[in-house]
């Protein structure tokens, strides 16, 4: 029996190697094409974010190639589903770099995947432009702390989710009692801790009266909502995102939450998929003006011709509004282009040098590179979801704009104590 197993094995190995792979031809930087590996969550309930990453990257690639590429070299990309899992993301990264030959990598939704990838990037010596993963630890610990230079983040981290909320609500004296319905993993804990620490500095009178934690893939939040509402909070800080945010808001509505609270902060509520999901409720003003949200880019701000043109092109190409992960990924490719053009090389160390001092205009506004933690600093406003006759889905209106330097944390970084 075992012998036949061995024979089978040999046949199969030969079959595997027989399956064809790519061939090649030549350009100015000495390669057939510049290869970009793209990763995002393309399966599961958060699949839209990976899809948007892919859409943003593809559109950027097409535009760059149409304009002649980078120093005459065409771009080529390969998208892989990281399934929001660290093991898959790391394996894909290795494949993309060592087997497929990626010169750069872009994307990644999950903070867990990003944190696992960090050390591997140092081993593979490839830059990854992170366009969604929001944990502060990626840049504060791995870049500023451990010096992994291959990490570059283009999207705003949880400073957006946590600190902006504190800045907005510190000026609401009637809101004293806060509760959270939080995502039961690091993103949720860190955001809540950061929010509490920041708010307490401005408002020592504030109390944190209840918490409920919902694990990934919770479908029914009614026990969490009712547990939290039993403590009669004035406002709720909510971190579940994507489909979970939509469900949570619906289930909160039918429990009459929005008749009882002054405010509900839905951290990533400004994301296109969430706005689409709550269109009916916003149209009927069910949230009574209490719902606040932000994102890592919103399509109606800044009101610049460049942003408007980007939206138009995106809608034409994909028949949908760009989500924040699409804009950040799109911008990441242009950032990469600028860095490669400045350094005139694909060598990782030289491109990192080329990033230093970079200021670049993207659809989302002006992004400025900060060398200490490899963050691209830019700002995104927060607001209330409202209907606007110019758009078929809600947009964030009543915008509060803060300067990025007022809510990005600065080095030297002290660790955020994460308590539940």
């Amino acid at each position: 029996m075992k012998r036949w197993g061995g024979l089978t094995f040999v046949i199969l190995i030969l079959a595997w190697f027989a399956v064809p792979d790519r061939a090649s031809a030549q350009c100015q930087l000495g390669v057939p094409a510049i290869k970009i590996g793209v990763q995002g969550a393309a399966s599961g309930p958060h699949a839209d974010y990976g899809r948007q990453i892919e859409m943003g990257a593809t559109m950027a690639l097409e535009e760059i190639n149409a304009a002649g590429g980078i120093l005459g070299c065409k771009l080529e990309m390969k998208f892989m589903d990281d399934e929001n899992r660290a093991a898959t993301g790391v394996r894909n990264a290795r494949y993309l770099v060592t087997e497929w030959g990626a010169h750069f990598m872009v994307g990644t939704d999950s903070s867990g995947v990003a944190m696992a990838m960090g050390p591997v990037l140092a081993e593979l010596k490839r830059i990854h432009f992170f366009t969604h993963a929001a944990t502060h630890r990626l840049t504060e610990e791995l870049v500023a702390g451990k010096g992994i230079k291959e990490i570059v983040r283009v999207s705003v981290p949880i400073y957006q989710d946590a600190i902006i909320a504190a800045l907005i609500f510190k000026d609401r004296p009637e809101i004293k009692r806060w509760a959270t319905i939080g995502a039961d993993y690091e993103y949720g804990y860190a955001s809540w801790s950061l929010f509490k620490d920041t708010l307490k500095k401005y408002r020592p009178d504030v109390e944190f009266v209840a918490t409920a934690w919902a694990p990934f893939l919770t479908l029914d939040f009614s026990p969490h909502i009712s547990a939290v509402m039993a403590q009669k909070p004035d406002a709720i800080f909510s971190t579940p995102w994507a489909g979970e945010a939509v469900m949570l808001l619906r289930q909160a509505l039918i429990q009459g939450v929005f008749d009882q609270i002054h405010a509900w902060w839905q951290a990533m509520g400004g994301s296109v998929d969430v706005l689409e999901g709550i269109t009916g409720e916003v149209q009927r003003d069910r949230f009574k003006g209490a719902l606040w949200a932000t994102a890592r880019y919103i399509h109606n701000w800044p009101d610049t011709p460049e942003n408007k043109a980007f939206i138009e092109r995106f809608k034409k190409r994909w028949v949908r509004f760009p989500n924040y992960s699409a804009e950040t990924t799109y911008s990441a490719l242009f950032i990469m282009k600028a860095a490669v053009e400045k350094s005139r090389s694909l060598d990782t160390a030289k491109v990192i040098e080329g990033l230093k001092g970079m200021q670049i205009r993207n659809p989302g506004g002006l992004r400025v590179f900060r060398a200490e933690d490899h963050q691209f600093i830019y700002n995104v406003p927060a607001g209330r979801p409202v209907m606007d006759p110019k758009y078929p889905i809600p947009v964030l209106g009543d915008l509060r704009v803060f300067d990025a330097k007022d809510y990005y944390r600065h080095p030297p970084f002290t660790p955020v104590v994460v308590t539940k």
């Binding site: 893939l217 029914d220 547990a227 999901g277």
Partner: protein, 285 residues
């Protein structure tokens, strides 16, 4: 305290929802002897169909639910007749593996047909809003779930205790060969029971759409809880599944209120303890 009672009622609505899923699972096991791993996928397809008929095509909610039941019932018939029935009489491990294969197929199939983005229809008007209970707003929707769960329980009891078909099924479940000997068309009974179980799963899926998103993977999220409930109640024991749903639903609601850290772990401990001490379930027939 009122808040504790309120949380218990929320837990009750959770329990009734879980009951819909567990009833089908336990019936299928009780009669066919098959643990249908793909039950969660049938739930998911039910949700997708209901969303399509109600959310996309604009049909009335009840019509959409009915069509979704028919659709998944048909799917169940195909699964049982076309595939599962070929494995009766062979080691049941293969039946488990077959249903596992179906999970993989159905999960990708819904992605291919409907795309990977989550879907949610508007909430039907008659299910919106809340009424005052114990001084707090208790949703109409959750009340509705409690009602439906009880109605389904009564209907199933009636079906199995008082109708000819139900009695035949029970006879087949307790002794297959004997039933065959007295002229029962056992294969047809099996198909019918599998379809019934599938439709119950679809009912759960369809009724969830007003407040839950429809997305790939929602079946897998539910199936574990359904397993736990059927184990606690006794595999094949319908009354046990009902009580098991109450236990799991209400306990998890209280878990969120009082000891959130341990919730996940303890529910599996209960499952393991029941399997160890009384594998026939806490409620023997």
């Amino acid at each position: 305290m009122d808040n504790i009672a309120f949380q218990g009622l929320i837990g009750l609505s959770l329990a009734m929802y879980l009951w819909l899923l567990s009833a089908g699972l336990t019936i299928i096991f009780g009669v066919l002897g098959v643990l249908n791993f793909a039950h969660g996928s049938l739930y998911m397809v039910g949700a997708y169909l209901a969303f399509t008929f109600y959310g996309l095509l604009g049909l009335p909610f009840w019509v959409a639910v009915g069509l979704s039941l028919l659709g998944v019932g048909l799917l169940g018939i195909i699964m049982e007749r076309g595939f599962l029935s070929r494995l009766y009489g062979i080691d049941e491990a293969y039946q488990l593996l077959l249903t596992f294969g179906f999970i993989l197929i159905l999960d990708d199939a819904v992605k291919i047909i409907w795309g990977g983005v989550f879907k949610i229809p508007p909430i039907p008007e008659f299910l919106d809003g809340a009424w005052s209970l114990l001084g707090r707003p208790f949703p109409v929707y959750n009340t509705f779930l409690i009602g439906i769960g009880l109605v389904v329980a009564v209907l199933l009891w009636f079906l199995f205790e008082r109708t000819w078909w139900g009695r035949t099924v029970r006879a087949t479940a307790s002794d297959r060969e004997m039933a065959n000997a007295i002229g029962v068309n056992v294969p047809r009974i099996f198909t019918g029971v599998f379809a019934l179980g599938a439709m119950l799963a679809a009912l759960g899926g369809a009724l969830g759409t007003p407040v839950r998103v429809v997305a790939p993977g929602i079946g897998a999220a539910m199936i574990i809880q359904a397993f736990i409930i059927t184990v606690i109640g006794g595999l094949g024991n319908l009354k046990g599944a009902f009580v098991g749903s109450l236990i799991v639903g209400i306990l998890s609601a209280y878990g969120t209120l009082f000891f959130p850290v341990f919730e996940l772990f303890f529910i599996f401990v209960i499952m393991a303890v029941v399997l160890l001490i009384r594998p026939q379930g806490l409620f023997t027939r």
